[in-house]
Symmetry: C2
Subunit: 475 residues, 2 copies
């Protein structure tokens, strides 16, 4: 990824941070009231960044000195890591006031990660209505639309006028900046009928019926148990800013907004990248995760791969007799094995990504196999030729003596490369399908996993080819 930074942003943040640091380092303890006054006019995300630089106690004091509305905007930020600590540091009644004012999905997130007994203690002090709302949100499994959604959305019965609706929006007090859409409900059954954007709403006259500015198509909705990646796919496909989550009676439970989906997508991309690197996905940023937690995430797969790779030792033992007779064969073992692994890794990364983007489906495996077979043969032929040229060149220039049968050795290496690269491309492309078919995540087919799989079979292919070609000469 390229990394052209925004110089203006960097300068602004550096200035804020330098101020904060100067306060800490030179003038002794920070004056929270002064810092709060200085920060109050900044964007909430910049306030959060400045608070991150402070000691937790100072940050809590600064937060307490901010205007109430600004305080809530800061705590509402989904990436603000300090939220939990700060809310726990607030006096009881202020914590309750803040949580009831925060957006429901952020408040639910807080309780999801808060530790006992602070969690139960604080939860018990909330108004019953907020408790029910949070319990409903917290009941949905992780990574589903239900767990991502917020319950703060605007509904209006279908018999209202545009004027009624605008008055309603003005009346409901919210700290949130954004209204994504107005969800128009059947007055009797509360079924979702239409979604009207604010843009369309203000283009109408106040006495017009609300439905007159509704689009012709039905609103796109999702089930609360839908996986967050599928929600993201729908939001992308229909270019939505938010999608309503409805139950089986078509009542709106909440909405999933595009910013929450973007955060979720980045998390998924990170998990996939780490898995493809051959490890369990980390739950925390690299620099923050504990040493032992990281070791656990990495050692598990490394040991599994090591045990798998032990079969290469077994394969080699099996061919020890051949090895002793033709030591020249060992010279090319790393070269041949790695070529199989590399071609497999290419094919796997292609297919994992194409499956994730729904470019191909499970049933397309044979179509993929029919593409990978000629690709593998062509790639194998290229590498095989390179390998034979290398051996011939070294032999003729006199850089190394591969013995009297050097031409047959070159032929062995070339043929083995064709076979192994073809095999690697095929296996590498089929593995994600097989994992999906067995109910696993196709992204578990990491590069090291594929390489290990192909290493063992690659050795067997190499020695089998050698036995055929070198029979009666070296072997």
């Amino acid at each position: 990824m390229n990394e052209i930074r925004d110089p203006a942003e960097d300068r602004r943040l550096d200035a804020v941070r330098a101020d904060a640091r100067a306060d800490t380092l030179q003038d002794g303890p920070v004056d929270p009231v002064a810092l709060a006054a200085e920060l109050a006019g900044e964007h909430p995300a910049d306030i959060a960044a400045a608070l991150d630089e402070q000691e937790p106690e100072t940050a809590a004091a600064v937060l307490a000195s901010l205007p109430h509305e600004r305080r809530i905007e800061v705590l509402d930020l989904p990436d603000f890591d300090l939220s939990n600590d700060l809310i726990e540091a607030l006096p009881g009644e202020e914590a309750v006031r803040v949580i009831t004012a925060m957006s429901a999905d952020r408040a639910a997130d807080l309780f999801r990660w808060m530790e006992e007994p602070a969690r139960s203690e604080l939860f018990g002090r909330l108004p019953a209505e907020t408790q029910n709302e949070l319990n409903r949100l917290l009941s949905w499994p992780e990574h589903t639309a239900g767990s991502l959604m917020t319950t703060e959305f605007v509904t209006a019965p279908a018999n209202w006028t545009i004027g009624d609706t605008l008055r309603h929006i003005r009346a409901i007090e919210r700290t949130r900046e954004t209204i994504y859409a107005i969800y128009v409900l059947d007055p009797a059954s509360h079924k979702l009928l239409k979604a009207v954007t604010l843009r369309r709403l203000i283009t109408g006259e106040p006495n017009q019926p609300l439905l007159s500015v509704a689009p012709s198509h039905d609103p796109i909705t999702v089930d609360p148990l839908m996986d967050r990646e599928d929600v993201a796919r729908l939001i992308l496909k229909y270019d939505l800013l938010a999608v309503p989550v409805v139950d089986e009676r078509e009542n709106v439970l909440g909405i999933v907004t595009v910013d929450d989906v973007m955060d979720a997508m980045i998390e998924e991309a990170t998990e996939d990248a780490q898995k493809f690197g051959g490890m369990e996905a980390l739950d925390e940023p690299y620099m923050e995760i504990g040493f032992l937690s990281m070791l656990k995430k990495r050692a598990g797969w490394l040991c599994v791969l090591f045990l798998g790779e032990m079969f290469t030792a077994s394969a080699m033992q099996h061919f020890e007799g051949e090895l002793e007779r033709a030591i020249v064969l060992t010279l090319f073992i790393p070269l041949i094995m790695s070529s199989g692994g590399n071609s497999g890794s290419q094919a796997t990364s292609l297919i994992i990504r194409a499956l994730a983007l729904h470019e191909i489906q499970l049933g397309d495996w044979w179509r993929v196999a029919l593409r990978e077979l000629p690709s593998g043969l062509a790639l194998g032929a290229i590498l095989g030729t390179l390998g034979m040229v290398r051996i011939t060149a070294w032999q003729l220039i006199g850089l190394h003596d591969y013995g009297p049968y050097w031409m047959l050795v070159a032929l062995t290496v070339g043929s083995a490369l064709v076979a192994i690269v073809t095999f690697g491309s095929l296996i590498g492309s089929m593995l994600p399908f097989a994992l999906r078919r067995l109910g696993f995540d196709p992204a578990s087919a990491s590069a090291p996993f594929v390489a290990t799989f192909i290493d063992v079979t690659g050795l067997v292919i190499y020695f089998s080819v050698a036995l055929v070609i070198l029979h009666g000469t070296l072997l």
Copy 2:
């Protein structure tokens, strides 16, 4: 990635597709007018999906029969692949009408990919104003904020009231559903002063000044040359739906919206995943790219890796004497080499992702090295122990005879594993930093690239350890 599909969506699309297919297969040629009437009430994204199933000529005819506004909504969809073909199929004056009505960023995309001479011919027929607007958009380099932005945004001078602004929004005819924010400009210099959301706008009274509902902080803006990933980062950080692009005089050139950024992010994630798999990123979906184009993207890196891996043959040749004396050493070459590659691949994927997410900066390399050194030692110790246990167990159970010096062989394998896994973790984690430092994309440090790099040094480490431990016995 999990793939719980939305059954409701599938059913709806299947029905639309089945209809379309039934029209094609059973009733002879499709009646475009009838199909257009049937589709007119659907969501534009669903209309696009149905058109994708048709022959290009039929699709063009259906599109021509759709209501004008619906036609433009469909062509405005960023992922609608047929757009170019369809617009070229429209009669000249209708094509001009459609392009002037489309959103400017989508129209610019069309011309970006349209082929000559159709491109110049159509461009020449556009009104001068549209030509200028498109030329401005097309002049920005790919992957920058300028190339992503649309010029359709709403501005208002700072001396207007809320009522003035609402009247202005109602007056400007647009087919777009969404107004992301109103950009408030200095009446004289046209400098951007504030960004006001629609939500805030409608909470005020008509006779209030527009500035009275503006937030206290300055608007977040980007430079037209900012990389799209940095734009995405800003949009995420500040939870924006759109970010204004401003020139050096702080005049607004356009806005980048969250949906365009999401598309860009998915593209980047795909490119990174393919690069990490050890190949050049494809420009097209896997099933659509031509055989030769794909071969080219894959063969290049595969050959580079192969040439790199040839050094393993040179290293082996160098130690051929030792190999002949101690053939038992060859048995563990694949096991040891792959362990180095796997630990390196883990470290590389971790660091690439952490750099991409700005969790760590270039200057953090020594902090990372200080984390990876103990991690590598610990992981190496685990694998080394496993390796020694394996050799001891096979020897004692009698599965294989590693000769009289089997204990020394086990010690060699164990020690080499500690050294190589530590080396792999260190090199794997430092490589992305080195590439970034040299001005390359850190994501070029693919799993196969790291593995190849470590394979060669791994062999040298292995044989060096063997020479020390087995000196005077086997060697």
